[in-house]
Amino acid sequence: MALIDLANPTRFLSLSGRALPWLAGATALAFACGFWLAAGAPDDYQQGATVKIMFIHVPSAWLAMFGWMVMSLSALGTLVWLHPLADTAAKAAAPIGAAFTLICLITGALWGRPMWGTYWVWDARLTSVFVLFLMYLGVIALWRTFDDPSRAGRAAAILTLVGAINIPIIKFSVDWWNTLHQPASVVKMSGPAIHPTILWPLLTMALAFTLLFITLHLAAMRNEILKRRIRSLSMMQADAAPGR
């Protein structure tokens, strides 16, 4: 099935309506496995039980970036392929991505308090995630200022793509500016630097979070389509009202 088959909102609604319960079930199952594995994972010899915050922190950080990627792809869909549902997808992804970025920041702060002795340091990674959060809020603010959803979609798509070009540059410059956070340790050329007892729960949680993202995203897209239908119906009703 090609992506263009989903261009018809009605067909998308029926397909996603059938897929959603399965996705929600898979998400719940993955979370159950993830929590069970995480509970069984050993404490770190230095960090103690606080290392388990990582099972939430790291997947949210991945999804914080994944969210912007989804938005960028949708932005290309809006501007290049003129896919009718692309701006719905972009709009639905923004608050979810922002929420995961916030979870990442909050869990990071809670972990940093016992480990680094402070909730917040102006370290490169923390700062660039915070900037990412602010950029999410900027895109959401832009969505909320337009009355017409299709014009809002194009404007937000341009901002998203400009952001996508700039995020690596911001990341690089902030790294250049200051760094304290540990470097990436899961995805490395020499293989993961994490012991398997921690790595497996982490990967399971990452899968669960990704499934959660997809489920929430599909549900939010359905809401957005229905909201637009209500909007056009009420506009038609206002047009047809007597006295005009």
Binding site: L137, A141, A155, L159, I169
Partner: protein
């Protein structure tokens, strides 16, 4: 190309004459720098240490202050529609408008910055470094701001939204502008390394800005 030249002259003339507000940004810049010693104390040693950061922040805020007028006046009187439909490519048109805006609102900031550096107790080489980084870095601010101006031009409260959208994108310019200035004063890196990256950021903004702004303007038309 004569059409674009005429557009540049027109924008410069409008900005310089009454109601153009070209000098408001400079006044704002001077006020921000004047407020700083009141906030952090008149300690000259401290001021000379953070002077480049103060000047850069002031210039950043002053650039943002005037950005919402970059396209809004033309949108209000309808000349932006004429420019959109005209024979010149819209990318070039918005590029020329941003150039005129830089010449009238950001270049004056660069020119007064040595004077303000004197107030902040910066010595000769530091003043030279700050002025050079501002000269190289402010075009990036204007051309990134151009994207925000084009995105928000049709909005009623666009002027409020613009800084929120653009400020995150200016972080790299601020980082390398300030670190190049500091490198010239205290080291340890040489002035050249961050300055080259600052120039690269400006060149990139010069390319991305007009294309994204033209796309935003076309998307904003009914």
């Amino acid at each position: 190309m004569t059409g674009l030249g005429a557009l540049l002259m027109r924008d410069l003339r409008i900005a310089i004459r009454v109601g153009g507000g070209a000098m408001i940004g400079v006044l704002f810049f001077m006020l921000v720098v004047t407020l700083m010693p009141f906030a952090i104390g008149p300690d000259l040693a401290l001021l000379s240490r953070i002077g480049p950061a103060i000047l850069w922040l002031g210039a950043l805020l002053a650039t943002l202050l005037t950005l919402d007028r970059l396209l809004a006046a033309d949108q209000e009187d309808g000349s932006l529609d004429l420019l959109t439909m005209g024979p010149a490519p819209l990318e070039m048109v918005v590029g020329v408008k941003a150039l005129a805006h830089w010449l009238t609102s950001a270049l004056p900031l660069v020119i007064v910055s040595p004077l303000l550096a004197l107030f902040l107790n910066l010595d000769g080489p530091a003043t030279l470094a700050v002025t050079a980084t501002l000269l190289a870095g402010t075009p990036a601010l204007t051309f990134l701001g151009l994207i925000g101006a084009a995105l928000t031009v049709t909005l009623r409260r666009g002027g409020l939204l613009l800084p929120v959208l653009i400020l995150p994108l200016t972080i790299p310019v601020l980082i390398f502008g300030v670190s190049a200035s500091n490198a010239a004063i205290v080291g340890p890196v040489t002035f050249g390394t961050p300055f080259m990256i600052l120039c690269a950021l400006t060149l990139m903004a010069l390319v991305i800005g007009p294309f994204a702004a033209a796309a935003a303007l076309r998307a904003g038309q009914e």
